[in-house]
């Protein structure tokens, strides 16, 4: 899984069977996530959003590149930094914002909040808050589809810090042992909250953790939506056709703090600025313009439309009612 750098007149994604429409959609999804998260930060500052709020800004290419090649009958699991992946899966912008506001019109009707977005109808299985807790659920989803003879795959996002948890290793072991169609996407943004990975992990290469289970593995530039898409296409094929799991380390970076309450004193300004030069949205936007797929004016129009969409989502969320008190005891049992 090395990055190939070929000089060619064809765009570098020419091998991927990506239509211009799809490329534009991927760009738009990333931009939507960015604008959504920027507004979420503002609304959090205004006290409209409570609890913890973990922003995806900087990591957009990882989520969009991983989700874009999926089918509708595939399943997605993720951790608590889940807004971006939900939007990439096509979950309703209004419903996502309303969930942050704790409103009954939210994607989890106000019962989950920022960390617990769900949409079973889209195979979006959440949205889980215990670091490293959810990977076995994703393996279980893959187990169930295989058991029922379906060729769906399940993908599982997780942060790099979760790979130090025991149950992560238990899951990789069984996923490989039982040949489960699951793809673990480890979003390595370098920091588990405020602790740099080098201070928390023995060993050099994170993806080598999968080596002990002889699982297909590798690292990918998670700041590059095309590279994400390419590696995911290979992993999805492996899962769907051969029932084999993959561990993919997506090297990425979050531009904001761990959560809204994080002053971020554990990173240097220089480091953050260095990564911002590799902004996944800007770089891909320039590339699309250079390839003649979008014009700069198209991007500006798109940005305006997205800002309007997010503004409307904020207004929708603000105007929506809180859940009625009567639901307090609903849905504890089926």
């Amino acid at each position: 899984m090395k990055e190939e750098k070929k000089k060619t007149t064809l765009p570098r994604w020419s091998d991927l069977n990506l239509s211009n429409e799809k490329l534009i959609k991927m760009y738009r999804d990333m931009l939507l996530i960015r604008r959504f998260e920027e507004r979420a930060a503002q609304e959090y500052g205004k006290g409209k959003i409570g609890g913890f709020c973990h922003l995806y800004i900087g990591q957009e290419a990882t989520g969009v590149g991983a989700i874009a090649p999926l089918r509708e009958d595939d399943f997605i699991y993720t951790a608590y930094r889940d807004h971006g992946q939900a939007l990439a899966r096509g979950m309703d912008t209004n419903g996502c914002m309303a969930e942050l506001f704790g409103k009954v019109t939210g994607v989890s009707k106000g019962m989950g909040g920022s960390m617990h977005f769900y949409d079973l109808s889209k195979g979006f299985m959440g949205g889980w808050g215990i670091v490293g807790g959810h990977p076995p659920l994703a393996a279980g989803s893959a187990f169930a589809t295989k058991y029922q003879g379906r060729d769906s795959v399940t993908i599982c996002f997780m942060g790099e810090a979760s790979t130090n948890q025991g149950v992560f290793h238990e899951t990789l072991n069984m996923a490989q042992l039982w040949k489960l169609p699951v793809i673990f996407i480890c979003e390595n943004n370098g920091y588990g909250m405020g602790t740099a990975i080098s201070r928390a992990m023995a060993g050099e290469e994170l993806f080598d953790k999968a080596a002990g289970y002889e699982m297909a593995r590798g690292a990918v530039n998670g700041m590059d939506v095309i590279e994400m898409y390419r590696e995911m296409t290979i992993a999805i094929e492996r899962a769907r056709k051969e029932n084999l799991p993959t561990f993919l380390e997506a090297r990425t970076y979050r531009f904001r703090g761990h959560s809204m309450s994080d002053p971020g004193q554990y990173r240097t300004k220089e480091e953050i600025e260095e990564y911002k030069k590799r902004d996944p949205i800007e770089t891909f936007g320039k590339e699309l313009v250079a390839e003649g797929i979008l014009k700069q004016s198209d991007i500006e129009l798109m940005d305006e439309a997205i800002k309007k969409e997010v503004q409307e989502a904020v207004e929708f969320a603000d105007a929506s009612p809180q859940p009625p008190i009567e639901v307090l005891y609903d849905n504890i049992y089926a």
């Binding site: 399943f75 769900y118 659920l137 058991y147 504890i332 089926a334």
Partner: protein, 328 residues
């Protein structure tokens, strides 16, 4: 009617439900080729094969989570996860409490989690502290879980069949020392509903509430007390969450006195909750405060004499009954 051991009754329940619904499978340590650590799954692997009777690595949190994730997909999969004992299931409490019990609520009803976690619970014999503990109170504490504790072969089979068919996570707690206990089990199909208790012995003077192994202790105490003219009613709630409160309160309104027997620790136990409910909902009917007999509030010791001293016994129950009757 056949006379079966509890392990055979549980085996029949699993077998019948697997035959009835191809979405039902069982996974756990040694459940397949070894036929179960306590032989509960005897013959099932031979009958259903690798796909549906699945040996797992020793990795309780991992396979509990895989079961939960499988159940949540909503594509007709109903896992039974065998825990070799509930002592080991403590490793899986994060999966059970943080995922199985909360998925439905946090998603505002989008998910169902049809899964059964089953295995032996409670003190056994001379195993010391890590292998002898009753954990039902910890599980019953959690909204979103159903907790069932059978005491007879009849109940075990009918309750487990209901548990497997239910769309919620069910904690099904058996007893290592009871697997060989025999009892009549009907040949025709039957179900014991979730949340329904049973009167194991009718009586008029005192109500004893007990479940799993403690039912036998209560019944033995009741037989002894009968010789002294004390007529004891023994209630087995069978399901600890949701609790059959009506059955309990009805019995209290009749006998006006109550002793609760459980082999878990006394601090914040299911018995404490039951006593509280009786005190608040049938206070006017009580002629004495509710008494509670538990295992001693200690990690279980190995030495036989100390272990015996730590456990509830018919003698301790008899003394408690006499106390609520103000008799010597």
């Amino acid at each position: 009617m056949a006379v079966l051991q509890i392990r055979e009754a549980i085996n029949q329940a699993i077998d019948e439900e697997m035959a009835r619904d191809t979405g039902v499978f069982i996974m756990g340590e040694e459940v397949a080729q070894y036929n179960g650590a306590y032989k509960v799954t005897q013959g099932l692997w031979k009958k259903y094969g690798d796909k549906r009777v699945i040996d797992t690595p020793i990795t309780e949190a991992g396979f509990a989570g895989i079961g939960i994730g499988a159940a949540m997909t909503g594509i007709g999969v109903r896992p039974i996860v065998e825990m070799m004992t509930w002592n080991f299931a403590i490793l899986a409490f994060d999966q059970i409490i943080n995922h199985a019990a909360k998925a439905r609520y946090m998603s505002a009803g989008q998910f169902k989690v049809p899964i059964v976690f089953r295995g032996p619970n409670g003190p056994a014999h001379m195993l010391s502290a890590q292998h002898s503990q009753a954990l039902e109170s910890m599980m019953a504490h959690v909204p979103g879980l159903i907790v069932m504790t059978p005491s007879t072969p009849y109940d075990a089979k009918g309750m487990l069949k209901s548990a497997i068919r239910d769309d919620n996570p069910v904690i099904f707690m058996e007893s290592e020392l009871m697997y060989g206990i025999k009892g009549e089990v009907p040949d025709e199909e039957y179900l014991v509903p979730i949340g329904k208790g049973d009167i194991k012995r009718e009586g008029t003077d005192v109500t004893i509430i007990a479940w799993t192994k403690m039912v036998a202790v209560a019944l033995k105490a009741a037989d002894e007390l009968q010789k002294e003219g004390i007529n004891v009613e023994v209630i087995d709630p069978r399901t600890l969450r949701p609790l059959d409160e009506d059955l309990i309160l009805e019995s209290i309104r009749k006998t006006n006195r109550c002793v609760i027997v459980e082999d878990s620790w006394p601090y914040a136990s299911v018995g404490t909750e039951i006593a509280h409910r009786i005190h608040t909902k049938a206070f006017d009917y009580l002629d004495a405060p509710v008494e509670k007999i538990n295992s001693a509030d200690i990690p279980m010791p190995y030495a036989e004499n100390l272990e015996h001293e730590a456990l509830p016994s018919p003698e301790k129950v008899i003394a408690a009954v006499k106390k609520v009757l103000y008799r010597k």
